[in-house]
Assembly symmetry: C2
Homo-oligomer: 282 residues x 2
């Protein structure tokens, strides 16, 4: 198959490596000349260009740009495509993307590969990034079955675990397990810095151990990611944050009221409720 | 020196191993016959007993029981001690312990070794548990200098990093970096389970990755620990929780108001504020 990739970072680059290994013809487009060169050097693509016209003959195009650039990229790209070309994206929120892109291109299937590494950019591209990891597809009622089938087949060939769900359900689910934790964790760091006594802050910094390290990790991560989640998954994020505030208030009330029995019950519950979220990590 | 240890779990047992290796005579007391036997077998102590009278000749006694048992243990123990025996504890909250024990025994120095492993009990005891880790001592105005000196010398010989601070400052600091994260993290798990749509819960469980794993870790841990923190460090815990709720509300408001510029600024701040808490973990 002739497969295009727009955006040659970790996600797009790793996709290129796997798709080439599977025998596809892979064509890449980047906004940066340096990335175009590097993608060819690294064997991530068969050919690459700054120009979207390179993708005129593509059967399928993966849009691997940052979320904000997905719809604008599609807008430009469609002038160069034949009408039966299938488009898909890899954005980590789906409702906003599907709503923006579907009116522009009928043959569009929203997608979200849930894989990554700590690194970014074309030089971080690795083979097998998607194998064993969830890859969510979010077709809607108007999405042509044939387009879904084409994307599904490619994604299965990456050895991903394929999930299908509505864009809204995807966004609610990732709000709970990915986007909410960022704000919960950032609030922890922010709260610690509100301590008025500098001596206590210093002691806290000296005493902090693995518990603080882990709970604060995603809140001390890349600000652009946190901002993107809040911006493009705002509704689900606020829905989860409101529920979280309610849970927090319950814990605060139990401690205020010294209701140790109920607190113990709740902590026993959270201990039991956590493992089902970790089954794929074991 | 003749050193007593009451409570032969991970903390007391590991202390015994190190103190014997340093040439001290170590005497252990446990409530369980099995632990007494095991402590002798493992070489954690020179002698052990169910009976506190074993410690009559001790120069120093480390109380390594759970927090709730510290003051009751001291109450019983003091009938067997000579007046110049120095007592110290290893409880993870200090204000409540120091307030309860100081009226019972003048020669008491509050302590908190900030070390541990994932395991518990005498069989988890290891040499060198304290080396390189913080060991906080919290003498108050009435604590005899000589008693502080004795405990400090032993603790330094374990190669711990010794910190001195007021019990209240200790409790405020650990509230931020140890006790608050438990409630923040437990609230995250609790909130996820409030999702009304079972299909979304299932997707969330399938999609959860390292971000959720890390942020939820301490909230899904041993309920007894969380309960103990809330119970014995209630005041500092509520102080931190209230500040945390304020930080959380600020994040929620920024997202509600779509104030992306300020949100980005705050996320950049939390990214910069985290590393000073991790310096000893690098």
């Amino acid at each position: 198959m002739n497969i295009g990739i727009v955006g040659l970072g970790l996600i797009g680059g790793s996709l290129g490596l796997d798709l080439r290994a599977l025998g596809h013809q892979v064509l890449g487009v980047s906004r940066q000349e340096q990335t175009v060169q590097r993608a060819i050097e690294l064997g991530v693509v068969d050919d690459a260009s700054l120009n979207l016209t390179l993708l005129a003959a593509a059967d399928v195009v993966f849009i691997c740009t940052p979320i904000a650039a997905i719809a604008p990229t599609v807008q430009q790209l469609i002038h160069h495509l034949s009408p039966d070309t299938v488009l898909t994206d890899v954005g980590s929120v789906k409702t906003a993307v599907v709503e923006q892109v579907t009116p522009l291109w009928h043959n569009f299937v929203g997608g979200h590969p849930m894989a990554g590494t700590a690194d970014n950019g074309i030089d971080a591209a690795v083979s097998g990034l998607y194998a064993g990891n969830p890859y969510v597809l979010t077709p809607i009622e108007t999405t042509p079955d044939e387009a879904v089938k084409v994307v599904e087949e490619i994604v299965r060939s990456l050895c991903s675990q394929v999930y299908f769900c509505r864009p809204e359900d995807h966004d609610r689910a990732v709000a709970w397990i990915s986007h909410l934790p960022v704000m919960v964790s950032a609030s922890l760091i922010d709260a610690c810095m509100s301590e008025p006594d500098p001596a206590v802050v210093e002691l806290a910094q000296q005493f902090a151990s693995s518990g603080f390290r882990d709970t604060s990790r995603v809140g001390g991560g890349n600000p652009d990611l946190g901002l993107m989640m809040a911006r493009y998954n705002r509704e689900s994020m606020l829905r989860s944050l409101t529920a979280y505030r309610h849970s927090l208030n319950q814990f605060i009330e139990l401690i205020e009221q010294e209701d140790w029995q109920t607190l113990e019950k709740k902590l026993k519950q959270t201990q039991l409720q956590r493992p089902p979220f970790l089954s794929k990590l074991e």
